[in-house]
């Protein structure tokens, strides 16, 4: 296990874990407010595609990120309209969003780029002076693109929001007992709307990250189950942002370990590599089966005046 192996592992862990981090932070906010976004992958894909196209034409990664945010928010607006405002079935609408996201991005990509797969140049790399010279950690942690630091900052911000702000308290109340929130004079719909749109924005960043920073390319269906893994991370983190961070990095390892092992000269078939994160999820779920805790009002639409 050489230095190169560890460097590549840590660096890869961060690279692969970042989209998970953004998405699960966002989903944490939604789930705490009582909305389950099965369609998270759809939001990520639209964010990825929007981000990719914007970055390609504007040559600026940050424009891409903003476009990714917009894309994710547009898809999450569907959840807002159908589930938060109209009270329709969250699972069905979520799957619909997934389908629309997959179909739309694949279609648009194929129509626009045909079979040419344009690439973005390396973007956003920075090296923090001095710190980036430390062996192993230096090239892996402190040479990450700026957006990595954005992710860490967001984790801290989300933690602060849920623990110490009014909005955070409202969100948690909306997820536990929306009737109580309503009786306290707070608009449940707006609370959940803001939460879901935030999730869409974060998922959009996650997707944009994958396309712009991660691979520099958009491939249809590129999220490949990441949205669902984000949901698992969120459920296991149980509303704690720091746990979401830890979980994301952990899964980042799973996602990256194949490449790193190849660096170390150990050859493993790609299918096994791809399968690993899902296997790990199952193992984790089996072990912690008793502990997965969902907010009491998850998935229940709120109607003022409805019992229970």
């Amino acid at each position: 296990m050489t230095v190169a192996f560890w460097t590549s592992l840590i660096s890869g862990m961060i690279l692969a874990g970042m989209p998970l981090l953004f998405t699960s932070l966002g989903e944490t906010i939604s789930e705490q407010s009582g909305i389950l976004n099965i369609g998270l992958e759809g939001m990520m894909l639209v964010g990825a595609y929007a981000g990719f196209v914007a970055a390609l034409y504007s040559r600026s990664p940050w424009v891409g990120v903003v476009a990714g945010i917009a894309g994710g928010m547009v898809m999450s607006a569907i959840m807002v309209l159908f589930c938060v405002r109209l009270g329709l079935d969250q699972i069905v609408v979520g799957i619909a969003i997934l389908l629309v996201g997959e179909g739309l991005t694949s279609l648009l990509h194929g129509a626009q780029f045909g079979s040419s797969y344009p690439r973005l140049g390396g973007m956003m790399d920075i090296k923090i002076p001095l710190l980036s010279k430390i062996p192993v950690i230096g090239p892996s942690v402190f040479s990450q693109p700026v957006i990595f630091w954005l992710g860490i900052a967001l984790a801290l911000i989300v933690r602060w929001i849920l623990k110490s702000t009014n909005w955070g308290l409202n969100i948690r109340a909306a997820g536990e007992k929306p009737a109580a929130l309503d009786a306290a004079g707070v608009n449940v719909t707006w609370t959940r709307t803001a939460a879901v749109l935030t999730t869409g924005a974060f998922a959009g960043i996650g997707g944009a990250y994958m396309a712009i920073v991660g691979s520099g390319i958009f491939v249809p269906f590129m999220t490949n189950g990441l949205g669902f893994i984000a949901i698992v991370v969120t459920m296991l983190a149980r509303g704690r942002a720091m746990w979401a961070l830890a979980g994301s990095l952990l899964f980042g390892i799973c996602l990256q370990i194949g490449t790193s092992l190849q660096v170390a000269g150990i050859d493993i078939p790609t299918d096994v590599i791809f399968m690993l994160p899902f296997l790990v999820v199952m193992v984790v779920l089996v072990i912690s089966a008793r502990q997965a805790y969902l907010p009491a009002a998850l998935c229940v639409p709120y109607k003022r005046g409805k019992k229970g």
Partner: protein, 547 residues
């Protein structure tokens, strides 16, 4: 120690009221409010006034429209017609926030506290527009208000773990949090012990002295007379009578009762004994019944391990004789539901056994116990008691799926089901368009009748009832209680009657056991004097005189 001494000892009913109370203009006026829902007019042309420093009781049976009216005041509903004036100005209360801003605080019948939040978090919810939560300020405010009410509450306590009485105190504090001038309490005594009720009355006295206008919604006539400075009687959405402070202070309890009964039932006033909730059962003394000595149900040292948010049952033992009605009293949440579910077979016993008419049923399934004659009338009639999307006929035989003659070899026999369903509907007076109607379309009272029809058909031997008359109108309540009694007298059907309504237990039961924190702390024979006091003591965890 007597728990309910306020009624027995004070010669003139009602406290001496602060001199300025009621003298000035009303704090809130409700003018000609009308509110209709699909199929029912909840409020018809209602007018009343609330004064500072007064407790205004809104009295009426379940379904009379009291809650609806107060929900209009608290911003949950909008009236179809009529106006509301607060402090002389006409206002529109279109959201709960508007009501809070106007100084109207409401304590709802079903808790609006979030059980997993701490007391402080529940109080801070919705209280401010600022971004950051200010815990220090909230703690100060809590100390201030709890001082005013002369109660002690820990800010860091998890709300769901507090005793029900304390939870209610938190709710009152929450209602007063933003500086309310009007406090509405919806059926606040329904979940309290006699001691808890006395504590609540103390709190109300404190609040009156601080000049609050208080509305107290109740369906218990004796409560209205005792607690109210002013009473408005509602019936089927209309105000049918009022009692002014002068009346309440001058007349005796009996006179007032007669007046109110007259208001509610007009010229056709039937005899007092036919109307429930009028007389306090504690004043009547029950005769002991002659029962056979055969035991139909033996519960031996039963323990049940319950999950998160539920109450474990510890070593409960009781014996029920043939034809006996055994009551189980206790504040909600002391393990009654878990015990009932264990008796029915929905929960596993971790210890002990149950013997039903001589058969060991501790490990038997729900279906097997049903066949042996054990039935369970659940309190969750809308939730587990029925399947809303299935027709009434299938709901009536929900516990007999696959059994002959309704199913033969697994195949459904529709005619058989239909015919049997129809005769049950007739026998139990279930109001439904057809037996094929979705059960969810029925009214609450009829759903309860359906549940009864299901459980009481096919030769029941022991029926476990969990709060069978909760939330129902007087007529249906009467019918159900009569049926329980009739089954016992005429067919020797035993009952385990779990209820939070002490009056109901005193009326029907031969013996009353009390559950406290998952244990049966005592069993009281229900005849002679002082039964209510003994039960009250046991409900608070005291030791019984006879076990």
């Amino acid at each position: 120690m007597t728990t309910n001494n306020t009624v027995n000892s004070s010669p003139a009913v009602g406290e001496s009221v602060d001199a300025t109370a009621g003298a000035s203009a009303p704090a809130v006026e409700v003018l000609r409010i009308t509110k209709a829902f699909p199929g029912v007019v909840a409020n018809k042309d209602i007018s009343l006034s609330l004064y500072k420093g007064e407790v205004h009781c809104l009295l009426g049976e379940n379904g009379a429209g009291k809650s609806t009216l107060m929900n209009i005041l608290s911003g949950m509903y909008q009236p179809d017609e009529g106006t509301i004036k607060v402090g002389g100005r006409t206002v529109v209360i279109d959201t709960p926030k508007a009501a809070i801003d106007l100084g109207i605080g409401m304590v709802y019948q079903h808790s609006t506290m979030i059980p997993v939040f701490t007391v402080l978090e529940n109080l801070m919810l919705g209280a401010t527009e600022r971004v950051r939560l200010d815990r220090k300020a909230a703690e100060t405010a809590l100390a201030d208000l709890s001082g005013k009410l002369a109660v002690e509450i820990e800010p860091g306590a998890v709300t769901g773990k507090l005793a029900l009485g304390q939870q209610q105190q938190v709710e009152i504090i929450k209602a007063l949090w933003s500086g309310s001038s009007v406090l509405i309490l919806d059926e606040p005594t329904s979940m309290l012990t006699p001691q808890g009720i006395a504590d609540l009355q103390e709190v109300l006295v404190q609040l009156k002295q601080h000049g609050l206008a208080i509305v107290f919604i109740t369906h218990k006539l004796y409560e209205a007379i005792e607690i109210g400075d002013r009473v408005s009687v509602l019936k089927q959405g209309c105000v049918v009578g009022r009692l002014e402070p002068e009346d309440l202070h001058s007349k005796s309890a009996d006179e007032l009762q007669a007046t109110i009964v007259g208001m509610m039932f007009g010229e056709e006033a039937r005899s007092l004994s036919e109307v429930a909730e009028i007389k306090q059962m504690s004043r009547l003394q029950r005769e002991k019944r002659d029962l056979s000595s055969t035991l139909v149900l033996e519960v031996n040292n039963v323990s049940v391990k319950a999950g998160r948010g539920e109450v474990d049952v510890h070593e409960v033992s009781l014996q029920v004789r043939r034809g006996e009605i055994m009551g189980i009293a206790g504040v909600d949440g002391n393990g009654q539901r878990e015990l009932a579910e264990a008796l029915a077979g929905q929960r596993k016993l971790s210890r002990g056994d149950i013997v039903l008419t001589g058969h060991q049923v501790g490990r038997a399934s729900v279906a097997e116990r049903q066949k042996l004659g054990l039935r369970f009338v659940t309190d969750d009639r809308l939730g587990e008691g029925m399947v809303a999307t299935l027709p009434v006929s299938l709901n009536l035989f929900l516990k007999r799926i696959g059994e002959r003659p309704f199913w033969k070899g697994g195949r459904i026999q529709e005619e058989m089901i239909c015919d049997s369903a129809e005769s049950l509907v007739r026998a139990f007076d279930i109001r439904t368009p057809t037996v094929e109607t979705h059960c969810g379309a029925l009214s609450g009272g009829n759903i309860q009748k359906m549940v009864l029809a299901r459980e009481l058909s096919f030769e029941p031997k022991v029926v476990v009832y969990n709060k069978p008359t909760y939330g129902l109108d007087v007529k249906t309540t009467r019918t159900i209680r009569d049926r329980i009694r009739e089954l016992s007298d005429k067919k020797g059907v035993s009952a385990v009657l779990i209820s939070t309504d002490l009056e109901e237990l005193l009326d029907l039961c031969d013996r009353i056991g009390v559950m406290f924190r998952g244990r049966l702390t005592g069993v009281v024979e229900n005849h002679g004097a002082g039964v209510e006091a003994q039960v009250g003591k046991l409900m608070l965890g005291g030791k019984g005189d006879s076990m």
